[in-house]
């Protein structure tokens, strides 16, 4: 008895597979295109300034001089302030949710964090410039930007910290408690060793976010020419803020300089994010 098991040719099946493949590949395509097209646009200014683009403090579009050091400093300094403020709070909330809060309280807290995460950056910026900087005597400064950025990166650090902390085996926590450890001793003895690396990754991720956050920083950082100073109350400027504020009236070379800033920002955030993700993923296993 000869039977036919060949079935229909599965053209639709193959087509769907390729469609899905192409969709996945778009992620890589977009990242590659960002790097390539923007690097091309940044060439004119780098040609002219060379390495001085990163080391000079003089940013003077009128005479075609572009030294981005103050903005690099501003980006790193505000991000550092933001992380310093956000990490203890995020860690506290993450521990509270996972170790202290009764079950019924967990969902509302997570929901609260969701809301905080979804408030648009420009709204924080508006609040920062109209309320925080005026009524709390902070003015527009590195510190004001740092505080606003800290509020904005708290949800992501908290949610990653939660994921990492939750990987601590229940048995080890119970073992610690069974030995008479207090809750804090249990956290230090059982949770911390398991979560250390992942928390470092979560912190780095928050750092990456803070460096790239544009609009809120642009509104509250001060928009001066930027300065390299440790004085947190001084007005300054950061890379994304400069791009957002100066793009409107920029000529070609100036635009090239702003794109070069964006490329720099892209490279820094990509590197920080890759490191952070690698650490977080490894520690979740």
């Amino acid at each position: 008895m000869a039977i036919d098991l060949r079935g229909k040719r599965a053209h639709a099946d193959t087509a769907f597979r390729w469609l899905a493949f192409a969709s996945a590949a778009i992620v890589l395509l977009v990242l590659a295109l960002i790097a390539l097209t923007m690097a091309g646009r940044a060439v004119p200014v780098l040609d002219r300034m060379g390495l001085e683009f990163f080391t000079s403090r003089r940013w003077s579009p009128a005479d075609g001089r572009f030294g981005a050091l103050p903005f690099l400093w501003g980006t790193l300094y505000t991000a550092a302030i933001a992380v310093a403020l956000a990490v203890p709070v995020s860690l506290g909330v993450a521990l509270f949710v996972t170790q202290v809060a009764p079950r019924w309280l967990r969902a509302p807290i997570v929901y609260l964090l969701d809301l905080l995460a979804v408030v648009p950056s420009v709204v924080f910026g508006l609040w920062g410039v109209m309320v925080l900087s005026q009524h709390f005597g902070l003015g527009r400064s590195f510190l004001t930007a740092g505080v606003i950025l800290a509020i904005m990166i708290t949800p992501i650090i908290t949610s990653l910290a939660r994921e990492v902390i939750e990987t601590t085996p229940e048995s080890e926590k119970e073992a610690a408690l069974a030995l008479g450890a207090t809750r804090w001793e249990m956290i230090v003895g059982a949770v911390w060793p398991h979560s250390k690396a992942g928390l470092v990754g979560a912190t780095m991720l928050g750092l990456g976010r803070a460096m790239g956050e544009t609009i809120a920083a642009a509104l509250v950082i001060g928009s001066s020419l930027g300065q390299v100073t440790l004085d947190a109350f001084a007005p300054g400027n950061s890379m994304p803020a400069v791009i957002a504020n100066e793009w409107g009236e920029a000529d070609e070379l100036h635009k090239s300089a702003l794109i070069a800033l964006a490329v720099t920002l892209f490279v820094i955030t990509i590197v920080v994010n890759m490191g952070a993700r690698a650490i977080v993923e490894r520690s979740k296993r």
């Binding site: 008895m1 000869a2 039977i3 098991l5 060949r6 079935g7 229909k8 599965a10």
Partner: protein, 272 residues
């Protein structure tokens, strides 16, 4: 080919012919040297201790092993003389002819009606009247019609475990397969629900060839015509346990007068 059938009854036509079948998952050899025949309109039972590869062999018969990454099949499996693993053979087509019922009932999160109609629909049947007819016929064949005829539009997830399993059987026979493979179909059910499924199997046997994997020897003895006993052997080279076929025969003979000592030990409960 150590175990050759010697009695001389008139045998039904061979549906599956397995010779020296072996299955690998990556570098791990799950079963080896399986040579057996499965005949039309009989219930063949695969029994043996857990880890002996009986489910693995069953999943070779409708190419479900294809879905497991790294799975590889050696030897030969023919279905009505056609090599199931031949290059021209399409796995979906094989599965359309050889249905399968799983260990745990796995109804789709859809209505009872849509569960049954899923198979006919993917075979291109769109006609409402025709679909209604198939749904009723399949549910009747699975002895489920009277229980659910008033709630065909409600979710299948609201049924009891036994009903869900009978729904899965109805879903399988809705595509009119020639063979129904059952992988421990009663292991998640209570004794009463199990008894109903067994009863159903005896009824279905007139129209379908049935292969059932079970770890319940009484069940094999009650429902099957022919039994294949598998066990796991320690492979001296790789230090891994590999499933092997010990013996096959009519169920009556295998349970009353097994040829192999290992079979006897297992069915009398001294091992396993």
């Amino acid at each position: 080919m150590t175990h050759v059938e010697t009695f001389s009854e008139v045998l039904a036509p061979v549906v599956f012919d397995l010779s020296s079948l072996e299955v690998f998952y990556g570098s791990f050899r799950a079963v080896r040297d399986v040579t057996l025949q499965i005949r039309a309109h009989e219930i063949t039972a695969f029994i043996g201790p857990s880890g002996c590869g009986k489910t693995t062999v069953l999943r070779c018969l409708n190419r479900m092993n294809d879905l497991i990454a790294g799975a590889r099949v050696g030897g030969r499996v023919t279905y009505h003389g056609v090599d199931l693993y031949g290059t021209q053979v399409s796995a979906p087509e094989v599965r359309r002819r050889i249905g399968m019922v799983f260990q745990k009932p796995n109804p789709f999160p859809k209505s009872i009606y849509d569960n049954i109609a899923f198979g006919p629909r993917i075979n291109g049947i769109r006609d409402r009247v025709k679909l209604d007819e198939i749904v009723e016929k399949s549910l009747r064949a699975a002895a489920l019609w009277d229980e659910v005829k008033d709630r065909l539009r409600s979710s299948a997830l609201g049924m009891s475990g036994g009903q869900q399993q009978r729904l899965c059987i109805a879903r399988t026979i809705a595509i009119e397969p020639e063979v129904v493979l059952m992988d421990e179909p009663c292991s998640a059910l209570d004794p009463i629900a199990s008894a109903r499924i067994e009863e159903l199997m005896r009824e279905l046997k007139n129209r379908y060839t049935i292969v059932i994997v079970t770890h319940n020897m009484q069940q094999a003895a009650r429902v099957s015509d022919r039994t294949a006993f598998f066990t796991a052997e320690l492979d001296s080279q790789s230090d891994q346990r590999t499933g092997v076929l010990v013996e096959t025969g009519t169920t009556a003979k295998l349970f009353s007068n097994p040829r192999e000592e290992r079979t006897e030990n297992y069915i009398t409960g001294r091992f396993g």
